[in-house]
Symmetry: C2
Subunit: 409 residues, 2 copies
């Protein structure tokens, strides 16, 4: 038996089924028109932002990192809840604009911005989080050509990392940002060239659960921003994107981030900011943390079979929608996500089964040796923590399958 990850708070049974937004799993599938389907919960999105607001200093703005889930109804639901949107491509810029979001609220990070993407962002008034000296100079040239001074923040490659983060994006050689030592010179260059100076973006890692580590890193980010602002020597820093890093529990033994602790430590720092940061717009950018637990992936069992004494529940879903849950995306050792039988939600776990996808590859696993209520063909399987990096971070066209349905309730 292998443990399953913890089911996020706020998912309850109704008539013996998992319910989301007051509808049972079967009602949701009927509404969507079939399986597989990603169901996103408005109340979970609202609650998560409210919890953050309650814990964090009022001064801290919250940005949504679109890459976690760029589906238009989700973007439109998030729009009134957050102060900004962080994008990672020209494609995401188009998605944000099509969702009716003001591009002046948008920051664009990413190490491989093409000229056409830079031009679209500059023309729309978005801020560039520039990743290299070369990119800054390309942006200045494009801004000159189209007669729009670019809005430029510098993404910093810091000399420290976020301890315990799932993905490290600082500390040593990295493709992201400009090494801290080289930031002041290029900042002065862009200011002299007439760009709108938008401050710094310091992103150190993602998917950390340790509140002490997050707080320590936020302190390091503020210290680094102060030091760089003094070295740039162009007055107070206009804006500082402090990055994200807040993780969600996926696996057995994971605990949620202690938000209160992060908020208290940040409030202490905010109460004693140096002059360089006293009037700075301060924000964090969160993707997975805002939307991850708000999503559930539902698929249907199409076969139940035995092989050499093990039971396999074969579903019509799989890694083509759930690459990370299958253990094939940046994972060394596969562990089970939170998974349940949605049509027997809360029933006694009296069976042990492997839950697999429909793809003809041994990589397509959704749960290994899981204790679950005994399920039959026609039952629905729920994979939780599916709101972020699910639909768009999976190879939807693999083996001719195509994308899943999506529903916001």
């Amino acid at each position: 038996m292998k443990p399953l990850g913890p089911i996020p708070a706020g998912y309850e049974p109704k008539d013996g089924e998992l319910a989301i937004g007051g509808r049972t799993a079967r009602e949701l599938v009927a509404e969507a028109g079939g399986t597989p389907v990603f169901v996103y919960s408005r109340s979970h999105l609202d609650r998560r932002v409210a919890e953050l607001r309650a814990a964090m200093p009022a001064r801290l703005a919250i940005h949504y990192a679109v890459k976690a889930n760029p589906w238009r109804p989700v973007l439109q639901h998030m729009a009134p809840l957050v102060e900004g949107f962080d994008i990672a491509s020209g494609g995401e810029l188009a998605m944000v604009v099509e969702a009716g979001i003001d591009p002046e609220l948008v920051s664009f990070a990413g190490p491989g911005k093409r000229d056409a993407e830079l031009e679209a962002a500059i023309a729309a008034g978005a801020t560039l989080n520039s990743e290299s000296e070369g990119e800054v100079r390309r942006a200045l040239a494009i801004g000159g050509r189209i007669g729009r001074p670019p809005r430029i923040a510098i993404r910093v490659n810091p000399d420290f990392e976020l301890r315990g983060s799932g993905m490290k994006m600082g500390g040593g050689a990295k493709p992201f940002g400009i090494d801290a030592a080289h930031v002041p010179a290029i900042a002065r260059e862009l200011i002299v060239a007439g760009a709108e100076w938008r401050g710094l973006h310091i992103y150190t890692g993602s998917q950390a659960l340790d509140a002490e580590a997050i707080a320590e890193t936020q302190g390091n980010v503020l210290d680094l921003a102060d030091r760089l602002a003094r070295e740039v020597d162009h007055g107070p820093l206009p804006k500082l994107n402090m990055g994200g890093g807040f993780g969600i529990p996926y696996f057995a033994g994971d605990d949620p981030v202690d938000l209160a602790l992060v908020g208290e430590k940040l409030a202490e720092r905010f109460a004693a900011l140096p002059g360089t940061l006293a009037d700075t717009d301060l924000c964090i950018e969160l993707g997975r943390y805002l939307v991850g637990e708000a999503g559930v992936y539902l698929c249907e069992i199409v076969d139940r079979k035995e092989s050499h004494g093990e039971t396999y529940l074969v579903t019509d879903g799989g890694l083509h929608h759930q690459l990370a849950a299958s253990g094939n995306f940046g994972t060394v050792v596969r562990r089970n996500y939170p998974v349940a039988i949605a049509t027997r939600f809360g029933a006694e776990a009296d069976d042990e089964a492997n839950v697999v996808g429909c793809l003809c590859t041994p990589l397509d696993r959704l749960a290994d040796k899981a204790r679950l209520p005994r399920a039959e063909v026609g039952d629905l399987v729920a994979v939780f923590c599916a709101g972020a990096y699910g639909a768009t971070a999976s190879p939807a066209m693999f083996l001719g399958q195509g994308p899943a349905r999506q529903l916001l309730v």
Copy 2:
């Protein structure tokens, strides 16, 4: 420095650039309309099939496993070269039919076949490689309902595996096929029920480079097929799909499969087949082996930057098209695929650089610490072995990027 994988045979420089089908990399990009682009080589496809024909016994039919690359021009190029097509979904059935391929040449394997997929395949006259007793019975019921006796082969979960294969699909509990011990009973059941008995499908693994291991496994497959045919006791076996397993070299130190050795051993076995297999249609199914080395992924360098003493070449491509090359698809330890600077092909490797994609994630790596000719913004990068499990086995929509262009030359 980390070694690069071996560049497949048949790629030569022309005017200092990588040439495919007689056109230089820049000409190919211009023809495709930009980067990133997958370029597939007709002459490589032809040569690979010809090499196989020359080495294998004439009696052995060759099937193409569509999942490796289902792009229509590739399917249409393969159609006159092979005797059959193996599919893994209803989506792939539609692709094959749209490419003008006779569905009677098609076999459909896969553990999670939905009723609608079974019905489409039965109606089209495709053979089902059935994965469970439940699936056989669903197929019989659907065939009865639509008045078409289904064509059914049994996919066997063998008790042995393919030694050294990248993915094992036999030996112990598996979601694929029916345990060998249970095959005779279900075969007799479907024959009695009036289905067209199409024999056995025994797939043991994929991506093996050791010819001795492949030959040994093919021997085991023939032995198992003989034993099962005798136990089914319905005369000679009509058909045996012996699976695939032939790998291609991706990494430094990998050597190509010794085709001659596999062919010799198979010829010895074919010369002494038991009565159960004397008149059997014998085939192998290959995907990656037929198309993998025929594809090259070209992307453009959009930034060249230094960080803490390391050089990064940032391209407009990445893991959204090259998930496996990035080391994030069924890989434990990331190693470099064969990668080159396509616009300086054959030039002296006088630089060391990390080649990364444009995505804002540390997972997006195409080559680590690689010895390459010094490259600048605007140069093209080639990732080889991109013909199989590239375009459709990668999360094309990740970070708003979208699919790559494709070209067959």
